[in-house]
């Protein structure tokens, strides 16, 4: 009977990826490989101002001096940056003015992904910026938002239409020199989303970006910049998928958030890049730098992430708590299965007085995967009366996977309090028997228990996302494909 249960466990932990299709679209691509010419090519394609080209070139030259970081609990074959296409865009014949002009194949792609770009059909009222490979194909609800003075558009459009705002905030949170992948992104980023919420405005709808890698041998390097001016509020969601391919695809994104005085930004991610197959072949290498700056006092930045995809995840959404009384939050569920590897966590840098941060991390490892939490909490001398609470739990399914916790805690003043707790557990035989005895199959029981375990994080997701995330969690671990 024990053997049978192991079989079931094996079955339910070997779900299939349902976003693995590929759309055949005519593409406009850069030549393979990376050089100053590639950087110039991208900048020219986007008709960028001189200062932005300079920014890119400076980043590229700095990148050449760096080596890939190797401190994470991750193993992969070396990445050959000359084998990657750094720019790929669906060919467009002319400027789009309405949805009717979007390539029907593209629309179909997003419909298959469950992302509707047709505004009138959206019930939930979510504005979407859809990014495929290197460029944004469509941003919805732009007009509705502009009534509030909210700017929500693709990064490229922002460079053309709001150059001063972009120049003022670009790379102020994640400098081009921040790390290897940030430098790479700063050199070759192709598109992404830009969002500006003016003073005192509460964004009435959820904003969202949907990222899709489609083309082969293509890296995706998007860049998101969100600025919430004084007293503003916005809830932002990000989703991502990629086709199933045998080779690994590189994704190196940057997200920067700036929250001014009394502003609040809630950023939610459901990351479901292609994780590779059951034998560890293929999958996205996800090296992402996400950081928010609580610039003004009483500001708040909250990261919520559900990470189920990618062959490798290297990602530490962080908050720099600069303003006094500012608040940083990080809620994370990371699932790894088969041969996936995740090294993810957060950094909370307490610089202002009376700052608060909360970290809730739930790791779930299955198959032969490795799942690590890595986090830093630092409270400097000036940050009097600051608080941090961290809780990092790991759940192991099966005895071939690994779950690791690497918290770094640094305290430099005596009026602050830091608390860190971590536990490791498995689904007990008693719990499974109890569920079975009530008529619940082992497969459903695992889904039920895993969702219960992740509840503390899932409840921080916006409604639109929470249901999807719950299903995704079950699917990542179950055999049933939706």
């Amino acid at each position: 009977m024990e053997k049978e249960q192991n079989n079931i466990l094996e079955e339910v932990t070997q779900g299939d990826y349902k976003y693995g299709f590929y759309t055949d679209i005519e593409m406009d691509t850069a030549p393979m490989g990376l050089s100053e010419d590639t950087v110039r090519f991208i900048s020219a394609k986007k008709n960028e101002p001189e200062w932005l080209l300079e920014f890119r070139l400076k980043a590229y030259r700095h990148w050449l001096t760096l080596t890939e970081p190797n401190w994470a609990h991750l193993h992969h074959a070396p990445i050959n940056y000359q084998d990657i296409i750094f720019y790929a865009a669906p060919k467009r014949k002319k400027e789009l003015t309405s949805l009717d002009e979007v390539d029907p194949d593209l629309l179909d792609t997003f419909n298959k992904l469950g992302i509707s770009l047709e505004e009138q059909k959206r019930l939930s009222g979510v504005a979407v910026d859809a990014v495929i490979d290197s460029v944004s194909v469509k941003t919805t609800f732009t007009e509705t938002l502009s009534k509030y003075g909210i700017i929500f558009c693709s990064f490229s459009e922002a460079v053309q239409n709001h150059p001063d705002l972009v120049r003022q905030y670009l790379a102020t949170v994640v400098p081009a020199t921040d790390n290897f992948f940030a430098a790479l992104n700063s050199a070759v980023f192709s598109d992404g989303s830009f969002c500006y919420i003016p003073k005192g405005v509460r964004c009435p709808i959820e904003l969202s970006t949907y990222f899709r890698i489609n083309a082969a041998n293509t890296g995706q390097f998007e860049r998101t910049l969100i600025v919430a001016d004084e007293g503003a509020y916005v809830s932002y969601m990000e989703g991502c998928t990629a086709p199933m391919r045998d080779e690994n695809q590189l994704h190196a994104a940057i997200v920067e958030i700036i929250a001014m005085k009394d502003a609040e930004v809630k950023y939610s991610t459901v990351q479901n890049w292609y994780p590779g197959d059951k034998n560890g072949l293929g999958g996205v290498y996800n090296f992402v730098t996400k950081r928010g700056m609580c610039k003004g006092s009483h500001s708040k930045i909250s990261w919520t992430q559900v990470e189920t995809g990618s062959a490798i995840t290297w990602k530490y959404p962080s908050v720099v708590l600069m303003g006094d009384y500012s608040v940083g939050e990080f809620y994370s569920v990371a699932v790894t299965n088969n041969f996936q590897q995740a090294d993810t966590g957060t950094k909370m840098m307490h610089l202002g007085k009376n700052t608060r941060s909360t970290i809730i991390s739930k790791g779930i490892s299955a198959g032969q995967s490795n799942n690590s939490y890595r986090g830093l909490v630092k409270i400097i001398k000036r940050a009097e009366n600051s608080r941090n609470y961290s809780q990092c739990d790991s759940l192991l399914l099966g005895d071939k996977c690994g779950a690791h916790t690497f918290p770094y805690i640094k305290a430099e003043n005596h009026s602050s309090i830091i608390e860190h707790e971590a536990t490791t557990s498995k689904i007990s035989d008693d719990q499974l028997f109890y569920c079975n005895q009530r008529g619940i199959s082992t497969e459903s029981a695992i889904g039920l228990i895993v969702n219960g375990y992740a509840k503390e994080v899932l409840q921080h997701l916006p409604m639109e996302f929470a249901v999807e995330a719950q299903k995704l969690l079950a699917i990542s671990l179950e055999g049933s494909v939706g």
């Binding site: 005895q437 009530r438 219960g452």
Partner: protein
């Protein structure tokens, strides 16, 4: 309804049940009594199909089906309910969610559609009222942070919701104060129907003041050594288990 013949079972190679015979008919309440360590809980687990127990001989027939061929959840779907002596905690899973999942899986087994949300909620209200349960209880995670009494009430509540054919209540009275005991017993009595049956496993006679059995069995050293009417429980209480031993 339930027919157990010459059932022997062991755990880790140690024989616990040594030829149990038991017949339970629809509409009956049976009590199984006996000192600690004689195999009462093992009998309950073997009927429910807990892994780790090896049936070495005998059979369990339930409504004409051989239970030993079915998985734990199939037995549950056939109508076997086990009220646990030590219910396990399942953090983050609300009782509502848990019960709806259980109920729908059981309905699926019988080829029925999932229960509509409204119907489910009103059924929950009705059963809560019947068992004098607090409203908030069902929003809490399954057994997490529950007191001993709350856990046992929750077991009876689940039984009321799932409406099993045969309920086996394993030491449901242990750890209960007199008020909780009364509520639990009232629940069991109210759920009694001509087409279902209950097996109450207990150590003390106390519970049987509230749930009056049709038949009382004494399980001793892996066998049912004596069966009789409800008056036997009183006799046992008075004379102690030594009396049984002396008769063997």
């Amino acid at each position: 309804m339930l027919s157990i013949k010459n059932l022997s079972a062991s755990i880790n190679g140690k024989e616990i049940l040594k030829g149990v015979n038991l017949e339970v008919k629809a509409g009956e309440v049976h009590a199984i009594m006996g000192p600690n360590g004689t195999g009462k809980s093992t009998l309950a687990y073997v009927i429910a199909g807990r892994q780790g127990y090896e049936v070495t001989s005998g059979e369990i027939i339930f409504n004409g089906r051989n239970l030993l061929e079915l998985s734990t959840e199939e037995r549950a779907c056939e109508g076997i309910f086990l009220g646990f002596q030590y219910p396990v905690e399942i953090p983050g899973v609300s009782i509502t969610n848990f019960l709806r999942t259980a109920m729908n899986e059981q309905r699926k087994y019988h080829g029925l559609d999932p229960i509509p949300a409204k119907e489910f909620l009103s059924k929950m209200e009705e059963k809560k009222k019947m068992l004098e349960l607090q409203d908030k209880l069902t929003n809490r995670s399954v057994n997490e942070g529950f007191s001993g009494g709350e856990k046992k009430k929750n077991e009876i509540f689940q039984m009321a919701m799932l409406e099993p054919m045969l309920a086996i209540l394993d030491e449901t009275d242990s750890g209960l104060d007199i008020d909780a005991l009364r509520i639990v017993a009232t629940g069991v009595n109210k759920l009694r129907r001509p087409d279902n049956a209950t097996v109450v496993i207990t150590h003390y006679q106390r519970l049987l003041d509230y749930i009056v059995p049709d038949v009382v069995h004494v399980l001793f050293d892996g066998r049912i050594v004596k069966s009789g009417g409800k008056e036997m429980a009183l006799e046992l209480e008075e004379k102690g288990y030594e009396w049984i031993k002396s008769q063997l």
